[in-house]
């Protein structure tokens, strides 16, 4: 034992083993930490940054899309304004009675004689035949007005010109029947079916 204890080579051997063991242990700990903690965390961070990049790209696309939608909404607002201008001289549904009274006044101004029963109809405001309104393909409505009257051709032409050139209404004639009246002298019987173009509910256009 004493020999072993006093043997310098034995001390060095144990020491080198100890140093080697310390090197192994000391090197293994940081390496193990590096591979078990740091590397997976780096991978997770890279994956998360990739996800962030994707989200940013998606957001950029969404911002562009929102810009398009905003442009669409601006276009719609502009079109609404234009449509209101174009339909300014169409008759509002609430103004039907006003239109009828205007036509009646024109008739009076041009010596158009409405048969008694027609005058009653006009006064009763049922020349607008309920349920007979016609529609255009995109929703514009036209409401019929039927006028039976007696007048000279000249007077009737002037009456018709005034009706067709009204500033605050658009009236389109569907049919016109003129028949000579043997007992009426110069006057003839006229039956006009015309349609009053009505303003549409612009707020509801393209919403349903």
């Amino acid at each position: 034992m004493a020999k072993q204890a006093n043997d310098p080579s034995g001390d060095w051997t144990a020491g080198i083993v100890a140093i080697f063991a310390a090197l192994l242990l000391g090197g293994a700990i940081p390496i193990a930490l590096y591979y078990t903690l740091y590397v997976p965390r780096v991978q997770a961070r890279i994956a998360e940054e990739k996800r962030l990049e994707n989200q940013q790209a998606e957001q950029a696309a969404l911002v562009a899309r929102e810009e398009r939608v905003r442009k669409l909404e601006e276009d719609a607002a502009e079109m609404e304004k234009r449509l209101r201008q174009v339909e300014e001289n169409f008759t509002a549904p609430v103004d039907r009675d006003v239109l009828i009274s205007k036509i009646t006044n024109f008739a009076r101004d041009h010596n158009i004689r409405l048969p008694a029963e027609q005058a009653n109809v006009l006064r009763a405001k049922i020349v607008y035949e309920g349920g007979q309104e016609i529609t255009f393909a995109k929703g514009l409505k036209a409401v019929p007005i039927i006028i039976n009257c007696q007048a000279t051709f000249h007077d009737f032409c002037r009456f018709l010109t005034q009706i067709e050139n009204m500033k605050d209404a658009v009236l389109i004639i569907e049919s016109l029947d003129i028949n000579g009246d043997q007992n009426g002298g110069n006057s003839h019987r006229f039956e006009v079916v015309l349609y009053s173009i009505e303003r549409r509910d612009i707020a509801a256009v393209g919403t349903n």
């Binding site: 997770a44 169409f90 049919s175």
Partner: protein, 230 residues
């Protein structure tokens, strides 16, 4: 001597052990430092990861909200804009394509032959796109009209050809009526069945005869009612 050597050996052994101990301590110290360095890197990555994750989550939430909002707004605004454009086109067409009757009627009144001439009846009506009997559509009001009328014209000395030529000339002058109903065509009813229509007014020259005529336009197809069918 022996004792002295023994003392020297012990001192050397202690020194060796000290060297070995210090080496091991140094190695472990360096290892610890390295481990701390790795730990700090890990901590740094963790901070970056959490930051990126937080941003990505926040952005994802924002994008989802934006996407949901746009999924409603986009089709709605597109439909609204397109609907308004179509409505505007339709309303413009009403202004642009509407037919005026009064200029055509004035022409009927003014373009008359030299002799006596009057209309018995005039009918101008819409040509329905779906054909006669079909329900009237709004677009029909902007389309062409058809014309059918009739009357009497005075013919002197049986000069039907001259009268026909004169009526044709008048028809050619009716430009507004033509744009409304197409080129109007006057037809003198001189055939055998219509000779009964020839009239002369009492007290007038027997040579002056009044002949029935019809006026029609090609855009209108008349069905039934004894009308013409061009």
């Amino acid at each position: 001597m022996f004792e002295l050597n023994l003392i020297k050996d012990k001192a050397k052994a202690r020194q060796r052990r000290r060297v070995i101990f210090l080496s091991v301590v140094c190695i472990l110290f360096l290892s610890g430092l390295t481990a701390i360095f790795v730990g700090s890197l890990y901590w740094n990555e963790t901070t970056k990861l959490n930051k990126a994750k937080g941003l990505a989550d926040e952005l994802a939430k924002k994008n989802e909200a934006m996407n949901n909002d746009l999924a409603i707004r986009e089709p709605k605004s597109l439909k609204r804009r397109n609907g308004l454009i179509e409505a505007w086109r339709e309303s413009m067409a009403v202004h642009k394509d509407r037919k005026f009757f009064s200029p055509g009627l004035k022409e009927i009144m003014e373009r008359r032959p030299a002799g006596q001439f009057w209309y018995r009846s005039i009918n101008i009506t819409v040509v329905r796109q779906g054909g006669p009997g079909e329900t009237l559509k709004g677009e029909d009001l902007l389309g062409p009209r058809g014309l059918l009328g009739g009357g009497y014209v005075q013919i002197e000395g049986g000069a039907e050809t001259l009268t026909q030529r004169e009526l044709d000339a008048r028809s050619g002058q009716m430009t507004h009526l033509t744009s409304l109903v197409g080129q109007p065509k006057f037809t003198l009813n001189m055939d055998r069945q219509d000779t009964a229509n020839r009239q002369s007014r009492p007290g007038e020259d027997e040579n002056k005869q009044f002949v029935d005529f019809t006026i029609s336009a090609a855009m209108r197809v008349f069905t039934g009612g004894g009308g013409s069918q061009p």
